[in-house]
């Protein structure tokens, strides 16, 4: 059953968990380490809440195996873009150009994927993202240009280059590629069917766990495993190796790093290029696995959602994983019925109320009251409406990020020298 944690694989490494929907970073300082039992209890209670709401409202889709599988699938491009942002920003380079690098990735996957098969598509998409990153690195690291400006230009360039190339490669229909051959998927025989039969029973809690099991054992594209594995790998490289320490020191105090003999330029280059490759890979997955086709404008801001997920996760791998999963889930809900989205309001009510009770237990009365009032208002909203506008799910990632930023900005900690240009030997 340890597999069950795979989708949120990062959570056991970093700090926040999916429960952060409501209680973002507040828990973070108090819980010293979210290992083992605590995490299991948190996840289990989350599933219990979802299960309770599912039974009360009859909205089966809020945690059906299909929804969870879709959420994981949609979380992958977001997570890869976010991981790209993490690499780059940990080395002190803000990367707004993730979106453009992702666009390059989708195109690469469409072009090479239709020519030589999906795996080559993924490879070329990844490399093209890296090419975009090289441009960003030259501008920001070598020339010290404002990093936001360069990112904006990369986004512009990524769009223009792919549109131009599309017109060259697919002259008849330049806005999309032919179908990309599908990638192989993994199904755990026996277990997945057994999980499905349990999930269909509709039992409290048990069926919901079975839905999760079904989602991660049935028809899982292999790219998902690669992407999920990249989270702990990144954590290990950045936080457990000498190279990672040096890279992060470039993002915290580049001149101190320089005085210790670290080649700051080199580390920044590596970080930015890895960042672009990850974003490119995310784009390639988007095209190859989720759509099976390259389409112009396909990324639709996923690069920015990835950036949001990274900030939501406080520049940490675990938080980033949780954020991507949450945002992937909201995107998956967009495709579901209005009733299911509506039922989510009840989930929010319960989570906020529980958080309020927790605050009361900690004797912080005023925030607790605020939480209860919010819960009451959301309940009122739930009780007086039948459905929610489609756009609510659409804006959730952005609003969630704004909320986290505004409510927990004191606890968020980005790398100290993030976004600041570095010129060798120019310490003052």
């Amino acid at each position: 059953m340890s597999d069950q944690r795979a989708p949120g694989g990062g959570t056991k490494l970093g700090l926040p968990t999916p429960a952060d929907v409501v209680a973002p970073i507040a828990l973070q300082r108090r819980t010293v380490r979210l290992t083992g039992w605590r995490l299991a209890v948190l996840l289990a209670s989350l599933i219990a809440v979802l299960s309770f709401v599912r039974i009360v409202t009859g909205a089966q889709q809020i945690d059906s195996a299909g929804t969870i599988a879709a959420a994981i699938g949609l979380a992958i491009p977001i997570g890869m873009a976010g991981l790209g942002g993490l690499w780059s920003e940990r080395a002190g380079v803000v990367n707004i150009g993730l979106e453009g690098m992702m666009i390059l990735g989708t195109w690469g996957a469409g072009w090479a994927g239709t020519m030589w098969g999906p795996w080559y598509g993924l490879l070329i998409g990844t490399l093209l993202g890296g090419v975009g990153a090289v441009v960003h690195a030259i501008a920001t690291v070598t020339f010290g240009v404002d990093q936001i400006v360069s990112g904006v230009a990369i986004n512009l360039l990524g769009l223009g280059v792919t549109q131009y190339l599309s017109a060259l490669v697919w002259p008849g229909q330049p806005t999309q590629s032919p179908q990309i051959p599908a990638i192989a998927t993994f199904t755990l025989p026996g277990i997945s069917d057994w999980a499905k039969s349990i999930a269909e029973k509709g039992w409290f809690f048990v069926s919901d766990c079975a839905s999760v099991l079904r989602a991660i054992t049935y028809d899982v594209p292999y790219t998902t495993f690669i992407a999920v594995a990249l989270l702990p790998i990144t954590f290990w490289i950045l936080w457990r190796t000498a190279f990672g320490l040096r890279l992060r020191s470039c993002g915290e105090a580049p001149y101190a790093a320089e005085s210790l003999g670290v080649n700051v330029y080199l580390h920044k280059y590596v970080a930015v290029i890895v960042s672009g490759c990850l974003a490119g890979f995310g784009g390639a997955v988007l095209a190859t696995v989720l759509s099976g086709i390259y389409r112009e404008g396909q990324t639709g801001g996923q690069g920015f959602i990835g950036l949001a997920a990274m900030i939501f996760g406080n520049w940490r791998v675990g938080g980033l994983g949780a954020g991507s999963l949450l945002f992937g889930y909201t995107q998956a809900m967009q495709l579901r019925s209005g009733a299911a989205v509506h039922a989510l309001l009840l989930v929010i009510v319960i989570l906020v109320a529980v958080f309020g009770a927790y605050l009361l237990y900690r004797r912080t009365v005023r925030p607790a009251l605020v939480a209860f009032v919010v819960a009451g208002l959301v309940y009122l909203w739930y009780a007086t409406t039948e459905t929610l506008p489609d756009q609510v799910a659409y804006v959730t990632p952005y609003v969630a990020t704004l909320l986290v930023l505004s409510l927990a900005s004191q606890r968020l900690r980005m790398p100290a020298a993030d976004g600041k240009p570095y010129i060798k030997g120019q310490d003052h």
Binding site: A139, F143, V145, A153, L156, L307, A308, S409
Partner: protein
């Protein structure tokens, strides 16, 4: 004179570089570059194209000024995009619902647009001053939230109605009293230039006046150059951030107006999007100066209009997007290189001066 030349060198160098790269790409894809440029020039200088260029440049100019106001204080208003779309939607809706005497009607629409734009920028400003949230991130997020809000509001029974004979939906059309007639300034053109080109002029003049002739503008530039020094001299940096963001948002709100009141008269699904990002590019190109931005927006608009011919000639018109992207990137790199060169030249100058003084002193004591 030398400083002026240095300032001019950067954009010229960058443009030359962009043209060079574009030519290489064109050659690589089998098109003779000179011929392509000539076609663009010939098409772009026809009367109708000139009108389009001026109209587009009007919009781009306002967009770039909105961005530049923030830039002058090192505030990055990426949210111009969301601000103008939201503002245009509300302005179009209000304008379509009421009927007032001509001047008042237009005035009301403009005020609504500015208010909505400022309000949306104000959210980012408050997040920054009250909670310390970076405006870069918050405005990016707010852009998407604005997209969501617009999608929600631009629906039948809310702000919009079905446009007859199409499956497009838009706000109720603004009546004649709210429309701004255009000018027939280009002989031989079939359509007029937006009347609100005057608005762009006013915005540009206001920007220049504010920056160079008022105390607020001085504080603003001081905060941009060194926020600590500005604070030390008594500038309330938080209040400056709030005012500048509100101002930037208000100007952003205006940027959809030439199009809305001069051509489309309704906000529908086809209303141009993404102009905020164009504004960022042009502000960089024009170096945030009211005059520089004029050239930037004219160039950008000309490229956007003249590229329309390329598809007919078998060249993908996206080549121009590539060219624009490279221009922006190389222009900022060029500015940075020139700036560093300038600093080094200054240091050398100072060094020489000091050495000379010292030599003179020694001469005296000897």
């Amino acid at each position: 004179v030398r400083r002026f030349l240095l300032a001019l060198a950067a954009p010229v160098l960058a443009l030359a570089f962009a043209v060079l790269v574009t030519s290489v790409i064109l050659i690589a894809s089998g098109h003779p570059p000179m011929q392509v440029y000539k076609q663009m020039w010939d098409y772009g200088t026809q009367p109708d194209s000139l009108v389009l260029t001026l109209n587009l440049a009007t919009t781009y100019y306002i967009a770039a000024v909105a961005v530049a106001i923030g830039f002058k204080m090192n505030l990055f208003n990426i949210g111009v995009d969301g601000q103008y779309r939201l503002a245009a939607l509300f302005a179009a809706f209000v304008g379509g619902k009421v009927n007032l005497p001509p001047i008042l009607h237009v005035g009301l629409i403009l005020v609504v647009a500015m208010a909505v734009g400022a309000m949306w920028a104000g959210v980012a400003a408050l997040l920054k001053t009250r909670r310390g949230v970076s405006e870069v991130i918050s405005t990016i997020m707010l852009n998407y939230v604005a997209t969501g809000i617009i999608a929600y509001l631009l629906a039948p029974d809310r702000f919009a109605e079905l446009i007859e004979g199409s499956n497009n939906i838009g706000t109720p059309p603004i009546g004649p009293s709210g429309q701004v007639p255009g000018f027939d300034v280009i002989p031989g053109a079939s359509s007029p230039v937006y009347g609100l080109i005057v608005l762009a002029g006013v915005v540009g003049f206001g920007f220049w006046f504010l920056l160079g002739r008022t105390r607020f503008g001085f504080d603003l530039r001081a905060s941009g150059l060194s926020s600590t020094a500005a604070t030390a001299s008594g500038v309330d940096s938080k209040r400056m951030i709030l005012y500048v963001m509100l101002l930037s948002g208000a100007v952003a709100g205006l940027l959809g107006m030439p199009q809305l009141l001069g051509a489309s008269y309704t906000y529908n699904l086809d209303f141009p999007a993404g102009l905020g990002f164009t504004g960022i590019a042009i502000a960089l190109l024009g170096r945030n100066s009211p005059i520089g931005i004029i050239f930037g927006s004219l160039l950008w608009a000309f490229l956007d209009v003249s590229r329309q011919i390329l598809d007919l000639e078998g060249v993908s018109k996206e080549i121009v997007t590539i060219m624009q992207g490279i221009t922006v990137l190389s222009v900022v790199i060029a500015y940075e290189v020139v700036r560093r060169y300038g600093i080094r030249a200054q240091q050398r100058e100072v060094g020489r001066q000091l050495a000379a003084d010292e030599a003179a002193l020694e001469g005296v004591s000897a």
